[in-house]
Amino acid sequence: MVENRPILNIVSHIVLILGIAIVALPIWITFVAATHDAVRMTQAPIPLLPGSHFWENFQQTLWGSGLSGTEIAPVWRMLLNSLAMAMMISLGKIAISLISAFAIVYFKFPFRMGFFWLIFITLMLPVEVRILPTFEVVADLGMLNSYWGLSVPLIASATATFMFRQVFLTIPDEMLESARIDGAGPMRFFWDIVIPLSRTNIAALFVILFIYGWNQYLWPLLITTDTDMTTIVMSIKQMLEAAEQSPQWNIIMMTALLAMIPPVFVVVAMQKLFVQGLTETDK
């Protein structure tokens, strides 16, 4: 700090705490709603302090039938689906991006630049804008209602390939020269040198991609019709629709809470990696 101004410091802290209050308010309200019983949640004004029904709601949501009167999978099943999708997307992206970036950086081969541009183009097309034809392709391949259909079309992204390319370019050339003198072939070099040297970048990217995968909404909404394949994030919308008939806000908000916890936990627990991943992938 440049100068000592106690009043300004106090103002700083007040503003930051206010900011946190604004940012946290929706989450707090969600949490509070998840701790009351269904009846209390139909009376305005809704409570602002936690109630005593947290465990009850928790158990009913996670293991019970969930929202009564709807045809949806139990929440634990949806959490499992989300986990599978998020893991397949993030690990799949990391794997194919690592090897393609390795090929592009460390080999000189015909059409190298052609492949590079082909990958570059994909960077430009988020799934939302080519949603209908992509859906048709997946349907034609018989991948609807499967984990493969949920994850594979989202796996190819140029962002990860670009980031790894960037990382590999910062590995000194002498590493490769030294490894060649030591007698390491391409794959050996990849496993023994490149992967260990990119460890933190891989972890950082994993944090970002896990959140990206977990939070997918439109894509799973389109390609899963089977309730067994529903992901937790999708289910919120169905519950909101159901709420118009039979409002059970305590269960809906508990589900929302459960849907938020894994990605929020990942961000908070791996904050340093998360910040690194965020700033690197957008470079």
Partner: protein
């Protein structure tokens, strides 16, 4: 152990030829330093010998094998890089043993060899540390250790001391020399530092613009530089170059001063005089108009002009000398210390 032969070696990038028809024979166990200014192609030449750059034409022979198309790993060489190229995620022990591990040596054998090398280099206590926990000098030793454990036929050094501070550089220079003498492995060492080259090499290959200017022992290079470039590059402070004319055993300087020497040469030449060969002599033929004294303690450097001209000239005198700007001082020089070069081609004109 092996000798190395370079035959008519050429390297081009596209249409640009960067190394022009290099020939040279390096004897078994010899320590050869390739020296030259940056961009002269010395590193490229070393990397070609290592197998990290392809050969455009000509041959590289290690022992009796032509190695042009062999992978670096199959050339039986080891290389110490400028930035050491230690694998940052491996311990010192793993770094040193990595090449042996790939070759499939047994664990026991790798350990034995790593520990032997570590003992020679006195890095035993650091074997389980990571490179980032070591000082510059220690990293340098690990890089050397990595070369030693392989027990190769040839050591290649690519400016290995340039990342160290001046004091450590002098110390490591001595250690490299001692180590090479002890192991007797044929070594090629690349540097741009002529002092390092002079102190390390059995022989020096002076490279300039992709051409070999001269290949000989340090003393040969100092006493009989073959070209203007070598004459200016070897020795510190650099040789003075003065325009002169030679006729029948007499050299005439630009200000008309005449000195004996020059042998059978004749016509216009560039005369080379080493500052340390100029001897203060009140009757000497060379008069210098001193502009500046640099007192270095053991010696004093006098910077000035050849009087009556604007040709710059430096003289080195033992001990402490002081002279006010504008002082005229006279010097003599022995005839065998005159170097004459053709002004056009830069080639030595032999006396």
């Amino acid at each position: 152990m092996a000798s190395i032969t370079l035959k008519d070696l050429v390297k081009s990038y596209g249409d640009t030829e960067v190394l022009h028809h290099i020939d040279g024979a390096i004897n078994d166990g010899e320590f050869v330093v390739i020296v030259g200014p940056s961009g002269c192609g010395k590193s490229t030449l070393l990397r070609m010998i290592a197998g990290l750059e392809t050969v455009t034409s000509g041959d590289i022979q290690i022992g009796d094998r032509v190695v042009n198309n062999l992978e670096p790993a199959n050339r039986d060489i080891a290389m110490v890089f400028q930035n050491y190229a230690l694998y940052p995620h491996m311990s010192v022990r793993e770094n040193m043993g990595y090449g042996l591990k790939i070759r499939g040596n047994s664990k026991a054998d790798i350990n034995r060899r790593v520990e032997e090398a570590a003992a020679i280099l006195e890095i035993g206590p650091y074997l389980d540390r990571k490179p980032r926990q070591l000082s510059g000098g220690q990293r340098q030793r690990v890089a050397m250790g990595r070369a030693i454990v392989r027990d190769p036929q040839v050591f290649l050094f690519d400016e290995p001391l340039s990342n160290l501070d001046a004091k450590l550089r002098v110390q490591m220079r001595l250690e490299i020399r001692k180590l090479q003498q002890r192991l007797g492995v044929t070594s090629i060492y690349v540097t741009h530092d002529q002092v390092e080259a002079m102190t390390l090499g059995d022989r020096l290959m002076v490279l300039n613009g992709g051409y070999v200017e001269q290949f000989g022992t340090p003393i040969e290079l100092y006493d009989r530089p073959a070209t203007l470039f070598v004459a200016g590059f070897i020795g510190s402070p650099s040789m003075n170059f003065l325009p002169a004319e030679v006729a029948s055993g007499m050299v005439t300087l630009a200000n008309g001063a005449r000195l004996a020497g020059g042998g059978t040469a004749s016509g216009k030449v560039t005369l080379g005089l080493r500052p340390e060969h100029l001897i203060a002599d009140e009757t000497g033929p060379i008069e210098i108009n001193v502009q500046l004294c640099e007192q270095l303690g053991a010696i004093t450097l006098l910077h000035g002009h050849l009087s009556g001209t604007d040709v710059e000239c430096v003289a080195s005198m033992p001990g402490h000398v002081s002279a006010a700007p504008g002082t005229l001082m006279r010097f003599a020089i022995a005839p065998e210390h005159l170097h004459m070069f053709d002004t056009q081609s830069g080639k030595r004109v032999d006396a």
